[in-house]
Amino acid sequence: MERRLSRRMFSNLLVGGGLLIWLGTILQAIFRYVIPPASGQVGSLSVLAAKTTELPPNSGKIVRYGSSPAIIVRPPGGEVRAFLAICTHLACTVQYRDDLAHIWCACHNGHFDLFGRNVSGPPPRPLEELQVVTRGNEFFISKRA
């Protein structure tokens, strides 16, 4: 009796285990399929952001940096800086406000100073700063090393 039962248990285990492995393999493939692969955006991507004539003092411009928006700003009397234009609160695209002379997010009224630091509103962190290199009369932006 005991022997017959263990044989049944063995076959149950074999069939059940095989079914579980089969199901796991299928689910694993589906799971890996729906998670998007890395965008392949290289860290050293350098992008022409603006020409000097396009960026007068006290202005900013949204540009494409890989698949993300970036903002390049020229304060009234300071050096040109660039940041990823994604608000650290809930990922809206920020903009330069010439009346306030700083960066602003319209979605939830978040304010960032010209160093990208969160100074008021709900954003919890500063904007991610990008490196600006001037070549002739053109500004190029890239990720900081």
Binding site: P36, R64, A85, C87, V94, Q95, A106, G121
Partner: protein, 359 residues
């Protein structure tokens, strides 16, 4: 003629045994008491779901789910296709009324303690259906690919990404990458027209089957006041009254669609700044508005993480209320659950009003 009718009847009867269905319907009753009117909301949800499926199929005939063509296809549908504007407006308005009816149905069931034993699974499937209704709203909002929807989706998927542990993966899987792009549109389209309808139909059938199996719940306070003799026969009495409600809803829906058309706005530009006044649909504004009032950091955590965890706990409470409110099953309702329910509704209403007045 009569003989012909009876022949047709006989033909179907032999194959489908319709008399059993008729017998079942003639025995089905709806309890009669002072809260009977709230029972109509279940049928209203069902009716509006039907409207959504019907108008959704019609919209599919012209809609193109790519970032280059989505906005233009909706503009063509609204501007050029005969009655295209009516189909789109009806779909948009019915979506809002559908979610509203889901909330009314859920809260009426909550206050009547319809979740109590033995109807815990019916409550669970109803809660799932509300989640699916919100999922329909969220995924459908992006499809016209306009500026407002684009940034509202950026905010919405960001909120999902804030969920501790798995939020980042879920957010990226929803978007199809780090940002909201054409891949997000493809995914949302697939979710909206295939995945969610499939799950919703299955859960809806289970929900309805459970109601048929267990009968309609009566509020504890009315159990001794209503009797089987006073109950309303479902067919044709309750069914015809429900049909009148459906006609009323249809009239309201058409009036809204004609008098208050749904704006298309401007086409989304993923590399433009977000405009002021970005708002999700009203049924998400209580969340976005509350998150707006939270500071950047609360103790060790980011403000929005605390807010999201709070909303998740609120959802978990509603999901598990049949297990928490044990007294209701014994016929002893605890007023604390009524107070919590009223607080949840007040919070939602106040936040929605603030979102549309203060901004």
């Amino acid at each position: 003629m009569k003989t012909q009718n009876s022949k047709v009847w006989q033909w179907f009867e032999e194959r489908l045994r319709i008399s059993e269905i008729v017998r079942f319907l003639s025995h089905k009753t709806v309890p009669r008491h002072r809260y009977t009117a709230w029972y109509y909301f279940g049928g209203v949800v069902l009716f509006l779901f039907g409207v959504q499926v019907f108008t959704g199929i019609l919209l599919l005939m012209y809609y193109t789910p790519t970032p280059e063509a989505a906005y233009e296809s909706v503009r063509f549908l609204v501007g050029e296709v005969p009655f295209g504007w009516l189909i789109r407006n009806t779909h948009s308005w019915a979506a809002n009324l559908f979610v509203l009816a889901c909330f009314c149905h859920m809260f009426s069931a909550y206050f009547m303690r319809a979740y109590r034993k033995p109807r815990e699974i019916t409550w669970l499937t109803g809660f799932l259906l509300l989640g699916l209704a919100l999922g329909f709203g969220f995924s459908g909002y992006l499809l016209p690919w306009n500026e407002l929807a684009f940034f509202a989706t950026r905010v919405g998927t960001s909120i999902v990404s804030t969920v501790p542990l798995l939020g980042g993966y879920i957010g990226e899987t929803l978007k199809g990458g780090e940002m909201v792009t054409g891949l997000t549109l493809s995914r949302f389209f697939g979710i909206h027209v295939a995945l969610l309808p499939l799950i919703a139909v299955l859960v809806l059938l289970l929900h309805l089957a459970l109601i048929q199996r267990q009968g309609m719940s009566e509020p504890i306070s009315q159990q001794h006041h209503s009797s089987q003799e006073e109950a309303i026969p479902f067919f044709p009495h309750f069914f015809l009254r429900e049909a009148m409600v459906w006609l009323g809803i249809m009239a309201v829906l058409l009036a809204l669609s004609i008098l208050s058309p749904w704006e298309l706005g401007t086409k989304a530009d993923p590399f433009a700044s977000a405009p002021a006044g970005i708002k999700p649909e009203w049924y998400f504004t209580y969340m976005s508005q509350a998150l707006k009032y939270l500071p950047g950091r609360i103790l060790l955590w980011e403000g929005e993480t605390v807010g999201i965890v709070g909303f998740m706990l609120g959802g978990l409470y509603l999901l598990l209320v049949p297990l928490l409110d044990r007294g209701a099953a014994r016929g002893k309702p605890n007023p604390i659950f009524t107070i919590i329910g009223v607080c949840i509704i007040l919070f939602m209403v106040v936040m929605i009003i603030l979102a549309y007045t203060v901004g």
